[in-house]
Assembly symmetry: C2
Homo-oligomer: 203 residues x 2
């Protein structure tokens, strides 16, 4: 490895370490309670390294939200390949499995940030982008069903995906709070029923 | 008014001022970011007054959660008198009206606190209690429908109420984030459809 590549690789690792430390602290304590100093303390990086990669805390939060979404999607890989109603059922099972562990049900990291929003327009935009991307996989699946004529031609894929996400988010909120899988189970079932409500009927 | 009564009245007002200042700050900035010092600064009360009414910040948070719930219920008074399917529809309209204003859709103050939970078991219990009380009005309405034979006899009122609350919470989260009433509208519609799914059919 030449020096340039090594330094780039090293730089990437430093940047990742900063974002991962920030993500960990922000997941546990919230965005507001996580100062840049605490992040640097946790990962052993210096201020000059931080400000080499991120202009300010906002940019770091941006990277943390990207990482949260990346991890969420990595945990439910089949969301990227929804084509049939059965695929949606399997996806819901995958989501439930994530929350079945001894530490579950877990809080949704994006939902946590949403709870901190207040009137922060910048953070609202970042979160909107992340949720829209997450929902886009559901919407793609709905478009796929629509293309095959399995849901009605007038089905608004983005809007149905948004409603399904709302169900999931509310289920996660109450499920985590109550340490109970039932709210997640029930609200995912409601989301799937909502989708089935658009099923094209043979006429 | 005798001195005792005056001092009690004055005391109640001081306590209320502390709780209201804390509620305001916690709604805007979160629980973690709201120190007792900031609360006292905002309402002009002293530390000795604070610790006369509240043993610690936890007890203050407890009172704030009570106040959040009280305000939520005051904004949707018809939730306390749900007897028919139409009553549920009117309740949903009332909720939508709250979020139709120029500042809406608003974040749910309880949902915000839930986003901050982490593994704080104490706060989880307080929030669970508040949500359970909120849901109990929906559950009472479902019991009322069940007593009249309008929903099936095996309908689990508490569980249906919980699922309806999950829908509402997720809708509020996305609605506030996107400054759009649609997610709240759609997820309340899904909640009402879920309830209608238990409708007793003439046999």
């Amino acid at each position: 490895m030449d020096t340039q590549a090594a330094s780039t690789e090293q730089g990437r690792r430093t940047r990742d370490a900063i974002v991962e430390a920030a993500a960990d602290l922000m997941y546990r304590n919230g965005v507001a309670a996580t100062s840049v100093d605490k992040v640097l303390n946790a990962c052993g990086a210096g201020k000059s390294q931080m400000y080499h990669y991120f202009k300010n805390k906002d940019q770091l939060v941006d990277a943390v939200i990207d990482l949260f979404l990346e991890r969420i999607l990595a945990n439910q890989p089949n969301i990227k390949d929804l084509r049939t109603f059965a695929d949606f059922d399997h996806w819901a099972e995958t989501v439930l499995d994530i929350h079945r562990g001894p530490l579950g049900p877990l809080a949704c990291p994006l939902g946590n940030v949403a709870g901190e929003l207040g009137d922060d327009e910048h953070m609202a935009k970042l979160l909107d982008k992340a949720y829209t991307q997450w929902e886009s996989y559901l919407a793609n699946g709905i478009v796929s069903l629509r293309d095959k004529g399995e849901v009605r031609a007038d089905t608004d894929a983005g809007r149905v995906a948004q409603t399904m996400m709302a169900c999931l988010q509310g289920g996660l909120l109450l499920g985590h709070l109550r340490r109970d899988l039932t709210p997640i189970q029930d609200s995912l079932a409601v989301a799937l029923t909502h989708l089935r409500g658009f099923e094209a009927t043979a006429s």
